[in-house]
Each structure stands twice: as structure tokens, then as C-alpha cells.
């Protein structure tokens, strides 16, 4: 009995200690609303902006610094993502189109196939196989494709994707990546895709 209790306590403690911390959105410097800065990496050990050396899975793809995001209700949220991972491609090309964001377009500074820096506003990515990851909050209707970094881009560089959307009533919504990017698993749906805190998390509106 005591052993069972110890085992349970061990699981509970390790779960609590491994639960991702919460990132509260910061007020924007211009206008009202809040902003969140995220980073997507091919492997956690390669992180530039938000290193996480203590992570038990340094070779997994992940959103960083955390996947529990907190924002105020009925406000404009601007998310900017440093996308450092290469292209994986979508299984359903439908997700290459941005939905539910203000203006219908996202702003992107990126590197083209020749490695030259480019800037532009997009409503979708022309090539569904060019996606590295995606950011989606299905229950809020928010879907944004993230372009994979070009092979010709300089080492250590990233595509920066920025978009805004409005939050409604308070609640906890899930968000996730729709690119099956769990390398080494069946259909790419394993490891980072099926564990909380890597390619999905909760979006707390309050």
C-alpha cells in the first residue's frame, strides 16, 4: 500500500514538475492589445531565442518557450513566431490557408529558395509541402500556416510570421500544430505531436 502511494505521489509530482509553465501575453507597445513571442525549432537543443536545456527530449520539435499561453478576453492578440524548422508538408493541404485572423493575412519575413530575404503579406502558402508547422486554435477558428525555413537560408536564421486575432469570451481553448511533424514516428503523429507541451498546448482566455 505504502509502495503504491509512493508510486502515485511520484507520478503526480513528476507530472506537476513537467507541466509547462504559463506565458502571459505582454501589452503591445503601440495601440491596445497584447503580444506573444514564440519560437518553433527542429530540435529543442537548437533553440536560439528560448533555450530549454533541462527538457527531457532535446531532439524533439517544439514550440518554445512554453505552450500554455494566457491572454485577456475580448482583446486583440498579436502572435509573432520565429520559425526555425525546415518544411515538413501538410497531409491535408486545406490547412495551408490562414483563417480567423484580422485582415485575413499574416505578415512574413522569410527567405526564398535562393536564400534571399523577402517580406510580404499572405493569406495562404502556395505550396502545401512548404509548411514547417502551423498554429491553430480550432475552437476560435484560427488557423495559420508557418513556412519552413529555406535550405538556402543562412545558418541560424528564421522566418518571422506575425498575425493578429480577436479573443472572445473567457475559456480554455486547445491549440495545436496541424503538420504531422513528430519525426521518427508512424505518420509523424507520435512523440512531439502526441505529448502535451511540444506541438500543442492550451490557450487560456480570461
Amino acid at each position: 500500500m505504502a509502495a503504491l502511494l509512493a508510486l502515485f505521489a511520484g507520478f503526480a509530482t513528476s507530472f506537476v514538475f513537467h507541466f509547462p509553465p504559463t506565458l502571459t501575453a505582454q501589452p503591445t507597445t503601440v495601440g491596445n492589445g497584447v503580444t506573444i513571442h514564440l519560437e518553433t525549432v527542429a530540435a529543442i537543443s537548437d533553440a536560439i531565442a528560448f533555450p530549454r536545456p533541462e527538457d527531457p527530449h532535446p531532439d524533439w520539435v517544439s514550440y518554445l518557450p512554453t505552450t500554455v499561453l494566457k491572454v485577456p478576453a475580448n482583446s486583440v492578440v498579436t502572435i509573432s513566431i520565429d520559425q526555425e524548422d525546415g518544411a515538413s508538408g501538410l497531409r491535408n493541404p486545406y490547412w495551408a490557408k490562414a483563417q480567423g485572423i484580422i485582415g485575413g493575412t499574416f505578415h512574413m519575413s522569410y527567405f526564398d529558395d535562393a536564400g534571399a530575404p523577402q517580406v510580404g503579406d499572405f493569406s495562404s502558402l502556395p505550396d502545401p509541402t512548404s509548411l514547417g508547422h502551423s498554429f491553430a486554435i480550432p475552437d476560435l477558428g484560427v488557423f495559420v500556416p508557418l513556412l519552413g525555413i529555406s535550405d538556402a537560408a543562412p545558418a541560424g536564421s528564421h522566418n518571422e510570421i506575425t498575425f493578429s486575432f480577436k479573443t472572445g469570451k473567457p475559456g480554455t481553448y486547445r491549440w495545436q500544430c496541424f503538420v504531422p511533424c513528430g519525426a521518427g514516428s508512424i505518420y509523424g503523429n507520435g512523440n512531439a505531436m502526441s505529448s502535451f507541451g511540444y506541438m500543442q498546448g492550451t490557450f487560456v482566455v480570461q
Binding site: P93, A136, P138, A183, S185, I186, Y187
Partner: protein, 281 residues
């Protein structure tokens, strides 16, 4: 049968008859799922209603006999403990209860099977060659519509082959229409469950699972995944699905076609097989 036995039997019979009538009247007022948005849902609701009405007198009879026995035949305080008379069975009673039970179960089976087979026949799809099989993109004529349901971790999307194979993250259906759902998946096994429409079908990767619904009333409904499919299975639900009027549907599908203009979807296909099977290999 002694006089005392006859009194007990008469009391039980009268009480059973009265309580059964009251019970059936109450049972007829109970609102039963799944509703009346489609003919399939209506069929299921009326079958549940029928089962409730048939089972009410049985339930009343069993409970009443048990309670009556507890009170009428209880041992009086202080009396010597004594066993009842031995029972050797009653052939006529046994035949009667087996026969009545068999008749009820067979009637329900006939009604149920009839409901299942007619759900496909009502749509007129069963005898006609579908646009999918011929590979042509038929127009939505004669109030029939094909809708493809694609499960993926963790959301359902819907393609409308009758409208150029456009895709949407939400399910809209026109009213008074025979819908042919083609359910498939791009990754693991999901299950498309539109509870209020009375339809549920597994979404298997590499398989085209066909099911039918005939919409009769407008209104919102919920689509849920009914097969444990991963970490966000519990959140794989669309609460914005709706059966809308023909005019509203045309407006909506025109907007979807516009939204799809900058999308590069693959040609419409009954299945979309995941490739490669192992990521990063």
C-alpha cells in the same frame, strides 16, 4: 388457486393495469434523443419511444410484484421461521412468458432492421451510380448532395464534390436534402458522429465509409469524434455545424468556393493515403 390467492392476483392485476396506463402516458411525454432534424433521427426517436412504451408495463409489473410480495407475504413478527410450499414450475406460465418476450423482441427487430435498410433507400443513392464512382463532378440536383468527411488529428474537415471539391472546416447541410456522407481519415481512426442527425460512421485511413442522412428540419447540431484518437480527442468537436435553408446553403457554399480560390487542394478522391508512413525516415 385458493380464494386468498385469487384476491392477491386480482389486486396485483388491477394495480398493474392502472399503473401501466399511467406509466405509458408518462412515457409518451418523455423527450427522447436524438431528435427530428433528419428522417434517420426521427426513426431512431420513434423506435426508442416504442421501446419505452412496450417496456413500461414490464417494468411496472416486475417492480409491483416485488414490492407487493415484500409487504403482503412478509413474515409476521415473532412467528416461527417457516419455508414456503415447494414450487415445481408452471408449464403454461413458462410458455406464455417465453412467447410474449419472443414476440416483443421480434417486433422490435423487424422495426429496427426496417429502419436501418430504409435509411439508405430513402436517399435514392443506393440504386444510382454515385458521382464518386464515375469520377465526374455531378451538380447538386434533385436535392441530393455528397459530402466527404475527412478526419485528422484533431479536427474534421468537409469536401463538397458537387461544388468542385471545395473544403471547409465547418459542416453546413441544406434542408430537405438526401445527404451521402463519405467518411475517411488522413491519419488514425476517428469516428464522425453527428448526434442530432442520428448518424455515426468510423473514419478509417484508406477507406471510404458511406452513410446516409435525409435532412428535414433546420437547426444547429454538434459533430464529435467518437473514437479515441489521441491527446485532443476530447476537444475534436464542432459545435457550429448546422442544417440551413437551401438559399442559405447556396450563399454559404459560394463563400466557401471564394475562400478556396487561393487553395491548392489535391483532386477530389475517396481516400487520401498518408505518405510517407514513417516521418523522418
Amino acid at each position: 388457486m385458493s380464494r386468498l390467492d385469487r384476491t392477491h392476483a386480482l389486486r396485483l392485476l388491477v394495480a398493474w393495469a392502472v399503473l401501466s396506463v399511467v406509466g405509458v402516458l408518462i412515457a409518451m411525454q418523455v423527450h427522447l434523443p436524438p431528435g427530428d432534424q433528419s428522417t434517420q433521427a426521427t426513426d431512431e426517436t420513434s423506435l426508442l419511444q416504442l421501446m419505452l412504451i412496450i417496456s413500461t408495463p414490464v417494468f411496472v409489473g416486475v417492480v409491483l410484484f416485488m414490492l407487493y410480495s415484500v409487504f403482503a407475504f412478509r413474515q409476521t413478527r415473532g412467528a416461527a421461521l417457516e419455508d414456503g410450499p415447494p414450487s415445481y414450475g408452471n408449464f403454461r406460465l413458462q410458455v406464455a412468458w417465453v412467447a410474449i418476450t419472443a414476440v416483443i423482441v421480434l417486433i422490435l427487430a423487424v422495426i429496427g432492421i426496417n429502419g436501418l435498410t430504409s435509411s439508405a433507400a430513402e436517399t435514392n443513392f443506393a440504386s444510382s451510380q454515385s458521382a464518386l464512382a464515375t469520377g465526374s463532378s455531378a451538380t447538386a440536383s434533385g436535392n441530393r448532395l455528397q459530402v466527404q468527411v475527412i478526419g485528422q488529428q484533431w479536427w474534421f474537415t468537409y469536401r463538397y464534390p458537387d461544388f468542385g471539391g471545395v473544403e471547409s472546416a465547418h459542416l453546413m447541410l441544406p434542408v430537405d436534402t438526401n445527404i451521402e456522407f463519405h467518411v475517411t481519415s488522413t491519419d488514425v481512426i476517428h469516428s464522425f458522429w453527428a448526434y442530432e442527425l442520428g448518424v455515426k460512421a468510423d473514419a478509417n485511413p484508406g477507406a471510404d465509409n458511406i452513410t446516409y442522412v435525409s435532412t428535414v428540419h433546420t437547426g444547429a447540431f454538434t459533430v464529435r469524434c467518437a473514437e479515441l484518437c489521441g491527446i485532443w480527442h476530447g476537444h475534436m468537436a464542432d459545435t457550429t455545424a448546422a442544417v440551413v435553408s437551401q438559399a442559405d446553403f447556396q450563399t454559404w457554399i459560394a463563400q466557401v468556393q471564394k475562400d478556396n480560390s487561393d487553395l491548392h487542394l489535391p483532386p477530389y478522391s475517396p481516400i487520401y493515403f498518408p505518405h510517407p508512413p514513417i516521418k523522418g525516415s
